[in-house]
């Protein structure tokens, strides 16, 4: 069996080159973390379909290439950046090119006192206490090879710190652009968002590219929501249709915090997302919603885990998939209700629409309940556009294409509606109507 030793050696050799660029930093604690991670990486194996967690997603296409870890930032102009912005969105803009912060094209204005938004490299350099407390604490790199790879190559990423009692009205639009230029770049943004007590923030992680070429994004995001914090998170994945995207998000929720996440995926040839949230105290609310729209040979895989470790928490999860051509979708939603987590409410649903004969979805709800006074529900559906509805619309004079668009939009609307940022909502509706209304 192929254990991809050569690919592994490639990343191990590249690590040595990376280390040599870090003069002066090698004694720092961050480098100890990197070294620990690279040693884990060398011991771990790349997953294959015999691993339960990777049963439906074969990563061998990703391991065909030696991706070049990006150590320096690429060039980008304001004009190029403007194509990726949303109409009518008041926002703070953080731009990362190939995983590195580009201050020139970023715009952060009038932040309340104490709020930090920018490059994590900067925060690491300044030996921030927040980094010390939270960085690398939530995303496991002992058992997860891609997180180990990310941790070994920690260089830059987005860092947002909101101290206690601050409400940030304007969303943070974090734009991760890859400019690979056929160089098969590996971009590894490493993000940390720490939101203090009673604070409120909206964060948009937006992944896209300048060209339609082959590259690999391996993104890790850690989020800490302190007591009563309200965090609205949106991930918009619009990578090149030839790209690979591995994303991990780890969320730690403290007492009565409210975390909502919307993951919208249109891009990448292969994307795998691991979204894990943990209630560390009582009274928490968590929403994990998502929409994926696939065609061609795209594969989208989302594995979520909501850990009800404490009582009196509510979680709500709803993913919807729209699949055309030969695309494949995977939904694996795990809800863990631990023994102490009485009075838990957990709702989960996954609905999929298949538009062709060759698209395929594997959906797997996984509820593990160890408490006895809980309300949990789950459901999964896979279907086609309803023939009766289609005929009804046509019988009113509406053409085939428009009728399809209307019904697909109707299918997706409840997830779209739950997004709080109007500019993003409008953008997604526009994408849907363009895609199905030629």
């Amino acid at each position: 069996m192929n254990d991809y030793k050569e690919v592994k050696n490639w990343y191990l050799d590249e690590f040595k080159k990376f280390e040599s660029t870090l003069n002066g930093e090698s004694a720092e604690p961050i480098h100890q973390l990197r070294k620990e991670a690279i040693s884990n990486f060398s011991e771990l194996n790349f997953p294959n379909i015999k691993d339960e967690e990777w049963k439906y997603t074969n990563v061998s296409p990703l391991l065909k290439y030696n991706f070049k870890p990006s150590l320096v930032k690429g060039n980008i102009t304001n004009n190029e950046v403007s194509k990726f912005l949303f109409d009518k969105l008041e926002h703070n803009l953080l731009v990362f090119v190939n995983g590195h912060f580009d201050e020139k094209v970023s715009r952060v204005k009038n932040l309340p006192k104490g709020v930090i938004a920018g490059s994590i490299a900067e925060a690491i350099k300044e030996k921030s206490q927040v980094i010390k407390e939270h960085f690398g604490k939530y995303a496991d790199f002992k058992n997860q090879i891609f997180t180990a790879l990310s941790t070994a190559y920690i260089k830059d990423g987005a860092f947002i710190y909101v101290p206690d009692g601050k409400i940030i009205e304007e969303a943070f639009h974090i734009l991760f652009l890859t400019n690979s230029d056929d160089n098969k770049i590996l971009s590894q943004p490493r993000n940390l968002f720490v939101i203090g007590k009673n604070s409120q923030v909206t964060i948009i992680e937006h992944y896209s590219s300048l060209g339609e070429d082959i590259y690999f994004t391996n993104a890790v995001t850690e989020i800490f929501a302190d007591e009563n914090a309200v965090v609205d998170h949106i991930k918009l994945q619009e990578e090149s249709k030839k790209a690979f995207h591995i994303g991990r998000m780890e969320v730690d929720q403290e007492r009565s915090s409210n975390f909502s996440s919307h993951s919208i995926s249109f891009g990448a040839d292969l994307s795998r997302n691991d979204f894990n949230t943990k209630f560390n105290d009582e009274g928490g609310e968590c929403m994990l919603n998502g929409l994926f729209l696939l065609d061609g040979t795209q594969l989208f895989d989302v594995h979520t885990m909501i850990d009800h470790a404490k009582p009196h928490c509510n979680s709500h999860e709803h993913y919807k998939g729209i699949l055309d051509d030969k695309s494949r979708g995977v939904f694996n939603g795990k809800v863990m209700v631990r023994k102490d987590a009485q009075k838990t409410n957990a709702f989960q649903e996954n609905n999929n629409i298949i538009l062709s004969n060759n698209a395929l979805v594997d959906t797997k709800p996984q509820l593990e309940i160890f408490a006895d006074d809980v309300k949990c529900s789950h459901g999964a559906t896979i279907g086609q556009l309803d023939k009766d509805s289609m005929f009804y619309l046509k019988s009113r004079g509406i053409g085939e294409e428009t009728a399809r668009t209307i019904l697909i939009h109707a299918f997706a609307i409840d997830v779209i509606k739950s997004i709080k940022v109007k500019a993003i909502k409008d953008y997604i509706e526009e994408i849907l109507s363009k895609r199905f209304n030629n």
């Binding site: 309803d386 009766d388 509805s389 005929f391 009804y392 619309l393 046509k394 019988s395 009113r396 004079g397 509406i398 053409g399 085939e400 428009t402 009728a403 209307i406 019904l407 939009h409 109707a410 299918f411 609307i413 409840d414």
Partner: protein
């Protein structure tokens, strides 16, 4: 002539339902098609509207000098054919107004007419809503979602009022209606009647025909029209029941 059906045969899943229908309809006329359950009434309505599940095996349908069977369902609608469904579909996530606006503008575009803007459209639907006494709150809701049986049927007639068809086929529009709703629906249909359009009322019972007076009544039995006549025929059927036609048609076959 608005519609001419000749020797129409149609199958579903290999089973022949229509076994040679002949029917002529002129502008300005109201035709009632009656018949017992399973006689093929709804099939005829669905075949005319272009439902793909039915396969037409023989016969011709000329509508407004066009070969109707060659047109897609949407083009039939754009040519002015309207089917009021026996069981209107619920479509969650699609608002009634959105459906109607899209439909109306698709029809207008097809006919080379100017599309309506939002204001003109609102004015139009306000006017038409009154015809069927439809509550304003229903219009912004999802198509038929959570509507009562009567509301669904009224919504069909409301759509018909907005789209102003040349040929309306009402498939069992009276089923599930109480007498008040029946009157409202019938009144709406009567208001829309003109010398330039025609209406086909498909029904099992005579009672709707007390309110929508037909010029012609046809009895469909076993996939064929076995009897045609004036409005008196409906009353006769009510009195004698369908068994009368069944025996009659048997005799017809035997002789």
């Amino acid at each position: 002539m608005l519609l001419e059906i000749r020797n129409l045969h149609a199958n579903i899943e290999g089973k022949e339902i229509l076994k040679g229908i002949d029917l002529k309809i002129n502008k300005g006329e109201v035709h009632a098609i009656m018949g017992p359950n399973g006689s093929g009434k709804s099939t005829l309505a669905q075949v005319l509207a272009g439902r793909e599940e039915y396969e037409v095996t023989r016969g011709t349908v000329i509508y407004n000098r066009k070969n109707l069977l060659e047109l897609s369902p949407e083009d039939r609608a754009r040519e002015g054919l309207f089917l009021a469904f026996q069981y209107p579909v619920e479509i969650p996530g699609v608002s009634n107004t959105n459906l109607l606006k899209t439909a109306l503008n698709a029809v207008k575009k097809y006919r080379g007419e100017e599309e309506l803007d939002a204001m003109e459209f609102l004015a139009l639907i306000k006017k038409k809503m009154k015809l069927v006494d439809l509550d304003h709150s229903l219009i912004s809701r999802s198509v038929n979602e959570g509507f009562s049986g009567g509301e669904k049927k009224r919504n069909e007639i409301f759509q018909m009022a907005v789209l102003e068809p040349k040929l309306s086929i009402l498939d069992e529009t009276d089923s599930g209606l109480d007498i008040d709703a029946l009157k409202i629906v019938a009144n709406g249909v009567n208001m829309l009647k003109s010398k330039d359009n025609a209406t086909v009322v498909v029904t099992h019972y005579q009672r709707l025909l007390n309110y929508i007076i037909p010029d012609f009544v046809h009895v469909l039995y076993n996939g064929k029209i076995v009897k045609s006549g004036g409005k008196q025929l409906a009353l006769e059927l009510e009195e004698k029941g369908y068994d009368w036609v069944k025996t009659d048609s048997k005799e017809l076959v035997e002789n």
